[in-house]
Symmetry: C2
Subunit: 311 residues, 2 copies
């Protein structure tokens, strides 16, 4: 969706048409200028360093607009983050293992630097909103977006809005049942050992099998384990938040052949209890993202659009 603005669009530019987007990731920042249609006009990517210099670089990019103020800015941030608007720490990053980033006030900094409304949410809630608005979840009010890569995370949309509550979903840390062919691996999550992230994230696969999925024979047991753990997660989600669709992205899921395997295992664990046609013919239920690597920054753009509307 990265496009050069056309001459027509350029002539239409006005202060009320452009939004700022910041995807604040643990390893890289993606900053962009975009519009309400989900079109990105400019984009800048750079590695995440210390908070002061990283955030200064993001602000400098967003300010360099030739005098056009932005209508709103959205920040989609690695977690945990504080989303309770009644908290004095609203808009902060919470207790993170990422050195230097504990208790950094992201939304507050943006509010001080810019006079426009600021949207703020987790990277995965934002990606879920982007997929709902412009991607694989169009016209669906209840969906889950999962990413399976360096870690495992999930955003949840219920009734069209991202789930916050006490904090926000941390789906990667639920405990699947151990597969009978996976009894010796302890898992790699520093908090939980063998929670889902500890068993089925990219680094967990490498720790157990000595290689990532792309380099493992399709007959290797790792494929079966991976499909089973993710299928269990999807079944749990169906029973808990009843999404109308589950979108799974992230580096591990770039192995397309995982999808039919995960669908099978989801159905195995549901055991016919949820006999909806959407589940039984799950090809359209459990799908890859449509926005790919852009889902994060487009999620930030979506947060900006929502913030401009006062949501």
């Amino acid at each position: 969706m990265l496009q050069e603005p056309t001459e027509f669009e350029d002539s239409m530019s006005s202060e009320s048409r452009l939004f700022g987007a910041i995807e604040a990731g643990g390893t890289k920042f993606v900053c962009a200028i975009g519009d309400e249609s989900g079109t990105i006009h400019e984009e800048l990517r750079f590695p995440t360093a210390d908070p002061a210099s990283t955030l200064a670089q993001a602000c400098a990019f967003l300010k360099d607009r030739g005098g056009d103020p932005l209508r709103a800015i959205g920040a989609a941030c690695f977690g945990p983050v504080i989303l309770d608007r009644r908290s004095p720490h609203y808009g902060f990053i919470g207790k993170t293992p990422k050195i230097g980033w504990n208790n950094v006030d992201i939304a507050g900094l943006l509010s001080r630097e810019f006079s426009c409304p600021i949207g703020f949410d987790t990277d995965v809630n934002a990606a879920a909103l982007a997929e709902q608005g412009w991607g694989a979840g169009r016209d669906i009010d209840n969906l889950v977006y999962l990413t399976v890569g360096t870690g495992i995370g999930g955003g949840v949309i219920v009734g069209g809005l991202p789930v916050h509550g006490l904090m926000h979903p941390e789906i990667g840390h639920v405990y699947p049942r151990r597969h009978p062919l996976d009894v010796n691996f302890a898992g790699i999550c520093p908090f939980h050992g063998d929670c889902l992230e500890g068993l089925a994230s990219g680094p967990a696969i490498v720790a157990r099998a000595g290689s990532d999925l792309a380099h493992l024979d399709p007959a290797h047991v790792q494929w079966e384990l991976q499909a089973d753990y993710l299928g269990q997660l999807c079944a749990q989600l169906v029973l808990t938040v009843s999404p109308q669709r589950i979108i799974i992205g992230g580096g591990v899921m770039s192995q397309d052949r995982l999808f039919p395997l995960v669908r099978q295992r989801m159905q195995h664990w549901l055991a016919g209890y949820v006999d909806r046609p959407e589940i039984l013919g799950a090809d359209r239920y459990l799908v890859p993202p449509a926005l790919g690597a852009q889902s994060g920054v487009l999620g930030a753009l979506k947060l900006a659009v929502s913030a401009a509307r006062g949501a």
Copy 2:
């Protein structure tokens, strides 16, 4: 909350002040007339028989109002139910093992018999709404209501509204990890064997331990198993829907000493990952219902009040 109307209240009665409520349970129906404050003026309980005679009895009670029409009626129904308003089967009971009740059109029947708005939801979503409005979840927008008795069910409120989505939550059928002291019991769920309902419902306890909790010594291993399975469930819910409070009712939970044990096990499974004070001092986080056995019929009343407001 069952009260005789005072003379003053009685003289205030008008067609716009009273609501009808039907708690449609698998073993009994509770029908009531109540008002917006959660006060029940009249109540009738009777065993659930075949759909035609049972629903006729419910309608007769609600019609016997001396000519005062009801402002709205709410039906809180055992599941599964169809909540998708775009479905031709909206308001129906789905595929239930309860003989004769498959595909019964509850909301449609009420719409034909009464001219007022009809609210319809699962019994547990309704109980969650009642606890939120008048009970242990006052002023909280995100909560889970669990009932642990003959079965295990859960209602989920996100952003003030009950979760529907593809269907509705069926929390009783998630799979906890098996406790190391519980390896031989196969579980009793006809669909899943050893899902949560199969391991930790009232009948599961009796099947495993030969007695209900009330008759087991506090040192009996069953207490530990029960606390562990429910603690796992609560941890999973924290990580998935991030409730601000979890309310647990039902016959099994009438054993008060379960609460501190379940809180401990929830914290064990979260392993410090969610370091919110609400979780760490969980006495006010994981609580019994305030409405007790009335939560179902008050839930139906709440559905009626919402329906009158067009929600």
